[in-house]
Amino acid sequence: MRAFTIMVYRQIKRFIRARSRVAGMIINPLVWLIFFGVGWSGVFKDIQIFGGVDYLTYLAPGIFAMTIFNQSFLSGVSVIWDKEFGFLKEVLVAPASRKESIAGRIVGDSIVATIQGFVILLLTFLLTKLKISGIIPALVVGFLLAMIFTSFGVIIATNMESMEGFHMITGVLMLPLIFLSGALYPIDAMPKWMKALVYINPMTYAVDGARHYLVGKAANFPLVLDFCVLVLLAVVFLGIAMISFERATIE
């Protein structure tokens, strides 16, 4: 268990140390929320499109989920840097289980991503009318989302041979996953094929769950479904990440 906790500690410590990086991570979603959100909210006068709330309120949980998604996915794939720059070797020659070490790392990174989501959420409160009681459950949803995508990032990084391939994958994957999650606009009006993609995107359920708690309206699925999908995927992805990390590092 010690290897697990120490890896959680490591990821959190690194986050606290790298303040400039943290600032950068927070600025990006704020740009979305303010310039994208405020810009469009003037256009959308009919609040019925967004399930009876103004656009900024509708968007806020989406930006929260997006922040966590971005952060967790990138920190997951950053295993590739460890691969390149040595710290990984430190872990690999240690007697601790590799599965345990990577699980600790994933949980640590997920906590970090959730903290960043929390910071964004607090800033969002200045602009919109969200439910304060929804913060803590929304953070739980955010953490599950973070677990899914940190694990997913680790899976990609451990199966990736080159840095170029990694840049391609992240470039191709990240934006569509955000657009196809209901974070920025409602799912209902989408064409069928697009909806199908939205339904298989794990982020969809995190956005929906966060909307349940923070807005109280405008959600698409029952809360139970959101949680079932998120928990299930978090467990499955974590498992795959642990196995593929162990396999990738034997040779």
Partner: protein, 324 residues
């Protein structure tokens, strides 16, 4: 008892054979050096011995356990300083130590005491709360050495421990290594392409080239492969030859100097002075030549051990310059 036993180790990467069937044994408590040029297969061997790479074939026992079948047991008993820095640059020296301890299952007050002891040992205690990013290359190396000792390994691997360090820092790292050997009674496996490093530190040296061990022995034994030590004397006044059991041959050179072949200069010289005193001759000048490990390498492979490429390159530049 042996701390490392390697038999017919082969490691292939695709079609390339990096290590081509090497065998050697390292006695407990010894410093064993792998000496060879870059790309000889030293780091590959270290990676196999430290369970990071699976051998293609051959048997490898480290600290009493097989590196393939009992990798975990091996990992518990070894420490390693990698050739490339493997520190967490965003974290402080202390945090790096703490995390290492945790990964090895250590914790509590005992760990904190050990960290303090080791950081003081490598003289980094006052910088313990500084992020490693601000450390010089030598400081990082020292921290890595301290870190590798934290879990009290039986066998310590040092892969090019002084690569890229300035002479002063190198000497300091050497001191640490010698202190570790004496105080902790640890077996140390060292790779290097610096001959002086191998000569200074190692009890036994294996010379490796292109994936094969081409010679093994103590520094003295290896030197003897090339020839014996030679002493040149200039005497005050008369020219005469010395005779003793430790002198192989003695010759008077045309320029008046006396040339003596001996097995070991360091032992022969004091005795030579005694001999001269007995004979009543005065030695006014002494020069000597001992074969270096570079001579050994040259003798065995026909190439220089260090910077072969660089040397050729320099020659090429010279050639270009002279042509102009």
């Amino acid at each position: 008892m042996y701390a490392i036993e390697v038999e017919n180790l082969v490691k292939k990467f695709g079609g390339f054979e990096a290590v081509r069937g090497i065998s050697f044994k390292v006695k407990k408590g010894q410093i064993f050096a792998f000496l060879g040029p870059n790309g000889a297969g030293k780091t590959t061997t270290v990676h196999v011995l430290t369970t990071l790479l699976r051998p293609t074939s051959g048997k490898t026992i480290v600290a009493g356990h097989d590196v393939v079948e009992e990798a975990k047991e091996v990992r518990k008993r070894i420490g390693i300083v990698f050739q490339d820095p493997s520190l967490d640059r965003d974290l402080t020296a202390y945090e790096n130590m703490l995390i290492h301890g945790g990964v090895y299952g250590l914790g509590g007050r005992k760990l904190r005491e050990k960290i303090e002891y080791l950081l003081k040992f490598v003289e980094l205690w006052e910088f313990k709360d500084k992020p490693v990013r601000y450390f010089s290359g030598g400081m990082q190396r020292r921290l890595e050495i301290a870190r590798s000792l934290l879990h009290e390994p039986e066998v310590l691997f040092l892969d090019e421990p002084t690569l890229g360090l300035d002479p002063q820092t190198r000497a300091r790292v050497w001191d640490y290594i010698e202190m570790i050997k004496e105080e902790e009674d640890m077996t140390i496996f060292l790779t290097t392409h610096y001959m002086d490093e191998a000569e200074k530190l190692a009890d036994r040296i294996s010379i490796i080239d292109r994936g094969k061990i081409i010679a093994e022995g103590s520094c003295e034994e290896l030197r003897r492969l090339v020839g014996n030590d030679v002493i040149y004397l200039r005497l005050d006044g008369k020219e005469c030859c010395f005779e003793a059991d430790f002198i192989k041959t003695c010759k008077i050179l045309p320029d008046g100097r006396v040339k003596l072949d001996v097995d070991n200069v360091s032992e022969a010289l004091p005795r030579l002075f005694e001999l001269a005193k007995e004979k009543g001759v005065k030695i006014v000048e002494v020069t000597y030549h001992r074969p270096t490990l570079n001579d050994v390498f040259l003798h065995l492979t026909g190439r220089e051990i260090r910077d072969g490429g660089g040397e050729n390159f320099r020659r090429a530049i010279l050639r270009v310059r002279t042509r102009r």
